[in-house]
């Protein structure tokens, strides 16, 4: 990953046509880094904003700025379907909050490895807090007073290039007991 600029691309038109157009253009250009905001759980306008945006016929993507530029030119030449670029906003960085709670040491080790090691280039972990509790009184199974012998809870925020944040979002999604929030886009001024 490098420091290439990404943009938040808002496309107007039928969602299926927009997606088909983007997919075709992506395949033709060989660009792999086209991210759907829905699939990557990227927050756009909040709940009501998303509804309004959808009603307005908008579909959102995060793409490299070069790709966005080429796409904008190509859209101008499209005549068979009604799609257009509504807006293209440069992204400065992304933010991703997460929290976790697990009940075994092995899960704790796995979660820590996911969260703390081999972060994508430029991604930093901020406000990271963990609390590990070992309660020997709670060893074994209980029926009416279920507490766990081992509990690890934690929370934090990843901050960095949007591509790295998207990669972290996918990584956290694959891990049980970690609950990532939605990715926030912070735009360049």
């Amino acid at each position: 990953m490098n420091n290439e600029t990404f943009v938040h691309l808002e496309m107007h038109g039928s969602a299926d046509e927009v997606k088909a157009f983007i997919e075709g253009f992506r395949l033709a250009s060989g660009e792999q880094r086209v991210y759907s905001t829905v699939r990557e759980n990227i927050k756009i306008d909040g709940f009501f904003g998303s509804l309004i945006s959808k009603a307005h016929g908008s579909t959102h993507f995060v793409v490299p700025s070069d790709f966005s530029g080429q796409l904008g030119e190509a859209v101008e030449a499209v005549t068979l379907i009604d799609v257009r670029v509504e807006s293209s906003r440069p992204i400065d960085h992304g933010e991703l909050n997460f929290e976790f709670k697990c009940f075994s040491h092995s899960d704790g080790v796995a979660i820590r490895e996911v969260v703390e090691t081999e972060l994508p280039e430029g991604v930093v972990l901020e406000g990271y807090e963990t609390d590990e509790t070992i309660d020997s009184d709670a060893e074994g199974a209980e029926m009416y007073s279920p507490v766990h012998e081992y509990v690890l809870i934690g929370r934090g925020q990843f901050h960095g290039p949007i591509e790295g944040i998207i990669a972290m979002g996918r990584r956290l999604d694959d891990q049980d007991f970690i609950h990532p929030g939605r990715i926030h886009l912070v735009y360049s001024h």
Partner: protein, 502 residues
């Protein structure tokens, strides 16, 4: 260990408080305190205050607020584990003892010897046999272990759930859950999608499967202790088979759907556990001994003895003795490693012992009032719950959120009070079975089936959740389980049962 000591002290306090009140209250009665006068003052009606044994008909004179400790202890069990789990884990014996004392002290103070008799009656007839049975089943089932590698395919998973559903009636839902939850978790360890398997395990093995014998689920054993014949519960096979069949088929197709989403790694079998086998199989003999002991107590008439002024059948004492022997034999003959591999500890049975010591104390006024039927302070409830489907849904709904054993007993007593007020057990049970069997069926299925609705409905539910979480399965929250799983999959089946059977 400290917790155990504190808990034992808690229960000890309850018992000692009760016993110490006997002499004090006895002395007070001798000095002219008349419980009948007290009863009249409290309720304002004197015409039904004479009970069958020449004492007060407590159900007719006890005020409604006397059931507050019963409601309190049930709500404590339901709410504390969710909102303050660590506080509850450390202090539940004291809280149980507190509710018991809150009821016992004024009850003994007001009704003296009769109150003492009621307390002794419920402990001798219900509590002690109840704990002995659960302890024996728990000990014996905890000595059997399924070892080896299993493939977590839809077919194998469904088969394990079917086996669990079938054996739950014979080893108890807690025993079946303890026996099978780890094998099924091991079989699915590599799979990404396994929450649905644990949820259906709770539905079937930890609850619905236990509906065919009094050994299966605590409510049914309480029914047995109150006179329901051992083999009567086999008549629940109709609704039980329908519910289990629908859920097993549903699970099978659901698991096929999730299986298709698994990666290659998720479908691989973990061979590290070696060949499939069963350890501690000799415990089946002890299980047979438990079964024989319970059946014996329901068929043999050996006379009575009096314990603390309470008439107890000799066959029941023989049964309890047999059960204790079976449990001890299991302890002595089972390798320690088997129990360790099962994650066996005495804590779950201690929890039951502490909490039910409080429940059985505080349930006394509720049962007495309900038994009085139209003459008791809960006459409104007795009048409102009149049809079999009412009993199915109300007993079931309450069993979803409160423990299903006391709920079953409460509604069994409601039915007794409604259908045959004033007739003592077990005659009233025999008449209900002969003339209004559908009511008993509705109460039994409602209490057992709907114990699966929430984590707090039946004792093994939380245990399964806890073991699954510690094995890396991210289980749904309390409301996640309720709204995303049990309401979606169980309620439609229960509606069908209600239409077809009640």
């Amino acid at each position: 260990m400290a917790l155990r000591q504190r808990g034992i002290i808690g229960v000890f306090l309850v018992v000692m408080t009760g016993l110490s009140m006997v002499s004090a209250v006895g002395a007070q009665q001798e000095h002219g305190s008349d419980p009948g006068v007290v009863a009249e003052a409290v309720t304002g009606h004197a015409h039904e205050v004479v009970g069958g044994h020449g004492g007060l008909d407590l159900g007719a004179v006890l005020p409604l607020w006397s059931i507050i400790p019963f409601v309190g202890i049930l709500l404590s069990i339901a709410v504390f584990p969710l909102v303050a789990p660590h506080f509850w884990h450390k202090h539940f014996p004291k809280i149980s003892a507190l509710w018991a004392v809150v009821f016992a002290v004024p009850f003994l103070w007001t009704y003296g010897h009769q109150a003492m008799h009621e307390i002794m009656h419920i402990y001798v007839i219900d509590y002690i046999p109840f704990i002995i049975l659960l302890w024996a089943l728990f000990t014996v089932a905890g000595g059997i272990r399924i070892k080896g590698s299993l493939a977590g395919t839809p077919m194998v998973n469904t088969l394990l759930l079917l086996i669990g559903t079938v054996i739950a009636s014979w080893v108890g839902t807690t025993g079946a859950a303890m026996l099978l939850i780890r094998p099924i978790l091991r079989a699915n360890a590599r799979r990404a999608h396994k929450v649905h398997t644990v949820v259906f395990f709770i539905f079937l093995v930890a609850n619905i499967g236990g509906s065919l014998t009094p050994l299966g689920d605590p409510p049914l054993f309480l029914g047995f202790l109150h006179g329901v014949p051992f083999f009567w519960t086999l008549s629940l096979i109709g609704p039980m088979s329908l519910v289990s069949g629908i859920l097993l088929v549903t699970y099978f197709f659901l698991d096929i759907m999730y299986w298709r989403r698994e990666t290659e790694a998720g479908r691989q079998i973990d061979q590290s556990e070696g060949r499939l086998g069963i350890e501690g199989l000799h415990n089946l003999l002890f299980l047979g001994g438990i079964l024989g002991g319970v059946i014996l107590s329901g068929t043999w008439q050996a006379g009575e003895v009096t314990i603390f002024g309470v008439h107890q059948h000799i066959q029941n004492l023989v049964r309890d003795g047999l059960l204790i022997i079976m449990g001890l034999l299991s302890m002595w003959t089972t390798k320690k490693q088997i129990r360790e591999a099962n994650g066996f500890s005495w804590f779950p049975i201690l929890e039951v012992a502490y909490l039910f010591a409080g429940i059985f104390m505080t349930i006394i006024p509720a049962l007495a009032i309900l038994k009085a039927g139209e003459h008791g302070a809960l006459a409104g409830l007795v009048r409102a719950v009149t049809e079999p489907w009412h009993f199915f849904w109300v007993a079931g709904a309450l069993s979803s959120f409160l423990d299903n054993a006391p709920t079953y007993l409460t509604f069994l007593t409601t039915a007794e009070g409604m259908l045959f007020p004033g007739i003592p057990e077990p005659e009233v049970i025999h008449r209900i079975i002969a003339e209004h069997e559908i009511f008993l069926t509705a109460i039994s299925t409602g209490a057992v089936f709907m114990g699966a609705m929430t984590y707090i409905g039946n004792a093994p539910n939380f245990m399964v959740k806890s073991i699954a979480e510690e094995s890396g399965v991210e289980m749904p929250s309390f409301f996640g389980y309720l709204f995303r799983w049990s309401m979606l999959f169980l309620i439609p089946v229960f509606v069908l049962v209600s239409f077809l059977f009640y």
